[in-house]
């Protein structure tokens, strides 16, 4: 039924039934025409891109795969003057040095411990990141508490043998922490019991952790100066990621706090750390940290840059999270408050889940940046993956023209796999979280 526009009166007599949309011509040729050659400008762009692909991809494949040298035990395989091939990547070199790239100089007979660490890390990551995994709350306890302790014992050998004086100091510190919580609870006029339980739990967790580290499991001690390669890269990245997210959230909340001292401390920390290059932070952590500590106290050589990168990433994370908090409408706070939720409940149940979801791209961006920045720890003499490649590159046994390029190609591949993985995972999470809540 058609409706004339100039009709003065109209009453619909019959409902218009919903019809399927008209069938548009869809086929590969139609798709190509519509998406690649829809106009002169688009056509030129398409041709230019095809040309660039033609120029870059075949030589790359030729170098990396077709002409590559896959087997060989020393430089002979990759040198033309000894009958080898120089026109392709020398993967034989990577294969020969692979153990060094993975473990650094870690004691060879103890490398099984590193393998267990990798396996435990993989279990923790999958448990936490696979959204439908069972008991993800236990997964969090595992990843944030059990896994770090076990890893520490596995990798270093444990048996820290703390002195009696250390334990006395810990007891005093624990009492101080509990007193501090009680003091703040009284100051803010909140309930005393949960504050005391929380403080007690924190002290207990730290105490158990220290006690476990203290136990002698009969594992040989492996000093951190021997660690290297992918082990160090993954370790620094994992610690950085695991510390920076919660610490960054706390800093972001602190920056928006109504208590001036908390706010000031957060702002100063964030602005100071963001205001200096990571290299400066690393060098400062390496050379200046020992100056601030009492003379008989030393911080492990690997721990220093570890703390440095974690703090650095936290400052960036704080600003990302703050962006998410800023984007939350005031009504969400009011809705939560009007139901009687207290501040921690409001934040953990209502505000943070939504705010963090908004900034997933920013968080993952920071993680990816951090992951690649771990290569800077080489500046303070830590043998991460890139540094081990650098060191192997000049090995006279493997003196061949393509060694350097092959080594860096390997590093690029390693970083790309992890960073691309993070990126894809975050996209998946975004899509999944958005699906439930959209109309």
């Amino acid at each position: 039924m058609s409706t004339a526009v100039d009709m003065p009166r109209f009453v619909r007599a019959k409902q218009v039934e919903a019809l399927p949309p008209p069938n548009l011509a869809r086929g590969p040729i139609a798709w190509v025409r519509q998406n690649l050659f829809s106009g002169p400008f688009n056509t030129i762009l398409t041709l230019v891109v095809f040309y660039l692909l033609y120029v870059s991809v075949p030589p790359l494949l030729k170098f990396l795969i077709i002409d590559a040298v896959w087997t060989g035990s020393d430089r002979a395989a990759c040198r033309a003057d000894t009958g080898g091939s120089e026109s392709g990547a020398c993967w034989a070199f990577i294969w020969d040095k692979l153990n060094y790239f993975i473990y650094g100089s870690y004691t060879i007979s103890e490398r099984w411990r590193v393998n267990i660490f990798f396996a435990l890390l993989a279990i923790g990551v999958v448990w936490l990141l696979w959204l439908r995994a069972p008991r993800r709350d236990l997964g969090a306890v595992y990843f944030f508490w059990i896994f770090p302790i076990v890893s520490y014992i596995l990798l270093t050998g444990g048996n820290a043998s703390f002195s009696g004086r250390f334990w006395a100091g810990f007891a005093i510190l624990g009492a101080l922490v509990i007193a501090l919580f009680a003091f703040f609870a009284a100051l803010l006029k909140t309930a005393m019991r949960p504050a005391l339980i929380m403080a007690g739990a924190i002290v207990a967790v730290i105490g158990i952790t220290l006690a476990l580290i203290d136990v002698d499991f009969g594992l040989a001690h492996v000093p951190t100066s021997l660690w290297g390669g992918i082990l160090v890269t993954l370790l620094v990245a994992t610690v950085g990621i695991v510390v920076s997210l919660p610490f960054g959230i706390l800093l972001a909340l602190g920056r928006r706090s109504r208590l001036p001292i908390v706010r000031m401390a957060s702002v100063i920390f964030i602005e100071f750390v963001r205001g200096v290059p990571l290299i400066t932070v690393l060098i400062m952590a390496n050379t200046m940290l020992p100056l601030f500590l009492p003379g008989d106290m030393t911080v492990d050589r690997l721990l220093r840059p570890l703390i440095g990168t974690a703090l650095f990433a936290s400052a960036y994370m704080a600003e990302v999270v703050r962006g998410g908090l800023q984007a939350m409408p005031k009504g969400q706070y009011e809705g939560a408050m009007s139901l009687g939720l207290n501040y921690p409940q409001m934040m953990t149940l209502i505000i943070l889940p939504q705010a963090l979801r908004i900034v997933i791209p920013g968080i993952v961006n920071t993680f990816i940046g951090l992951f690649k920045d771990t290569s800077l720890v080489a500046i303070v003499g830590i043998f991460d993956l890139v540094k081990t490649i650098e060191a192997s590159r000049i090995d006279p046994n493997w003196a061949a023209p393509t060694i350097g390029i092959t080594g860096y190609a390997f590093a690029a591949l390693f970083y790309f796999i992890f960073c691309f993985g993070m990126s894809r995972y975050s996209l998946g999470v975004e899509r999944r979280l958005a699906a439930g809540q959209k109309r």
Partner: protein, 257 residues
Amino acid sequence: MSAQQIPASVDPQVQPAIQMVDVHKWYGDFHVLRDINLNVRRGERIVICGPSGSGKSTMIRCINRLEEHQKGRIIVDGVELLDDLKRIDEVRRDVGMVFQHFNLFPHLTILENCTLAPIWVKKMPKREAEEVAMHYLTRVKIPEQANKYPGQLSGGQQQRVAIARSLCMSPKIMLFDEPTSALDPEMVKEVLDTMVGLAEEGMTMLCVTHEMGFARQVADRVIFMDYGQIVEMNTPDEFFRNPQHERTRLFLSQILH
């Protein structure tokens, strides 16, 4: 009109649900609430109207301390609102609030929206909280939406969920801050019907609204506010038939065509 007498000795039996004594509030230099004196009896239904910016929302938001008053006393169900965070949470537990823009939590399902506060604030077991939630969702006539997300519901349905969410805490007092102003005209009635039902059950209600039909039907008292003051307060009959203050008459002539 303003100074209502506060009994010197308060008998707990007849203690009012809400007492506001000489309440003042400023936003910076702007004096937004002036000399508010109001006693609300238990079970009383009060409708508050007035032009925008007259302080009516601010006044009811002071009752559950979403806004802080700077002078005077507010006593809700025998608890005075002071800086004590714990007591403020106590008051908020007993005072439900429904907002103009619903303020449902979009990342939680309807059922989770309703069970969140009972589980976390009242420490109710999850199963029991879900039963309570389904009871109230049935009452506001949307039990079948329990597993959807707020974004999938219409405005009227969302506002009814918001009412159910508040009721799940079994509040003694309900505050409504323009609950129907953000709704499409067709959805106003379903929300008002829910509120009428609530009023008929004897809930203490303070409602900022311009739905004068609702005021006539359920209100015990109508308050007219302007410039941060209570200008006139009367029973709905008298208020609409015979408004005393000139400002009230002007206002009513503007909204009742």
